[in-house]
Amino acid sequence: MTCPFLDYRDSAGDRTFDTARAYCTAAERFVQPMRADVCNDRYDLDHASDCEIFLAHEDELDEAEIGSEVPTEGPDA
């Protein structure tokens, strides 16, 4: 399950990219690639326990969003 705050965008503000990148709608910025592994719950990582941004914004989610899966994971290598 991916973080409900995760989106993949190829532009935001004055930033544009050739390939859509991980964007945190809570922090309102593109996230570092390593943090994107947390957003995507890859390996043993879990956004609900491993991401301080999610924990700081968790109360902004309504019940329908908590536990919903966002089908926006980036491509595999």
Binding site: Q32, P33, V38, D44, D50, C51, E52, G74, D76, A77
Partner: protein, 280 residues
């Protein structure tokens, strides 16, 4: 290694850390991420004076990849674009399972060098790159089997104990080569006396590479040159050229440290000289 090594004029090995795996183009759009970009960056860094390129692999969207196939694509691109540069793969991987950490060692041919993190390192507020002794020994064993020279990454002074412990547990080919890393968080605080102390606590005969993160990159590279060590620069560790000004390229950072070395009278090692110095 000491100031006497500087006076003796031993050639300086410059490693260019081209891409990394923590930040990407969101931090500096000039940071290479694709195999083709990394290949061209390696060639430019080599032309500027780098003898070694330190490589991570990424997915097409910049996110981390540990896949052997992705490292293979990058190595192929580096060999296509660059002349003779030494290829060094990262085996680092915060949050990645142990088996993934071995995958960068399995390209054909194997990389001449690979990083070996000597202990735990905190990331963000909730993550730790554990790097247990079991994991270090397992990675070293595969490096030994494949003829890969380990670059021992020392993130803080406790990891100096781990270097000595590794030498007690396992046989490492001479010379032992350790990168001394300075910055915030879990890293050794970036103070000149701490570099001197770390050098003094290395095993007898060990060579060292000097790495300062962010604004500390150039000062610590300069000290590393003067103390007879080697240096690592690049966009993995520092995305700025100076305060408020993003670096244009990895080569720009290499060119600057080459100028410093030349002003100080230290010859810059070619890839061939680097292989002789490191026993590759």
């Amino acid at each position: 290694m000491t100031y006497d090594d500087f006076l003796a004029g031993d050639p300086l090995i410059i490693t260019a850390a081209l891409t990394g795996g923590v930040h990407g183009k969101e931090a500096n759009p000039n940071l290479p991420e694709t195999p083709a970009e990394i290949g061209r960056a390696a060639a430019a860094a080599e032309a500027a004076g780098a003898a070694v390129v330190h490589l991570h692999a990424r997915r097409p969207n910049g996110e981390r990849s540990f896949a052997t196939e992705r490292f293979q694509e990058i190595d192929d691109a580096v060999r296509r674009h660059a002349d003779d540069v030494v290829i060094q793969h990262s085996t680092g991987g915060t949050g990645a399972p142990a088996e993934k950490r071995h995958l960068p060692l399995r390209t054909d041919p194997a990389p001449e060098m690979a990083s070996l993190d000597m202990g735990p390192l905190n990331r963000y507020d909730h993550l730790t790159s554990e790097n247990t002794r079991w994991m270090v020994d397992a990675l070293h064993e595969e490096m030994r089997e494949r003829g890969i020279k380990p670059e021992l990454e020392v993130f803080n002074d406790g990891h100096l104990n781990e270097v000595h412990g590794l030498l007690e547990r396992r046989e490492l080919a001479d010379p032992v080569y350790a990168t001394l890393i300075f910055g915030g968080g879990t890293l050794t605080p970036p103070r000149p006396r701490n570099l001197r102390n770390a050098v003094d606590n290395l095993p007898e005969g060990a060579l060292f590479n000097t790495l300062g993160f962010g604004r500390h990159q150039l000062p610590f590279a300069t000290m590393g040159i003067l103390f007879g060590g080697h240096v690592r620069v690049g966009l993995e560790d520092n995305v700025y050229y100076r305060q408020g000004e993003l670096a244009e390229s990895n080569a720009q950072l290499v060119e600057r440290v080459v100028r410093v070395a030349e002003e100080l009278g230290r010859e810059v090692a070619s890839p061939s000289q680097a292989r002789d110095i490191l026993g590759l």
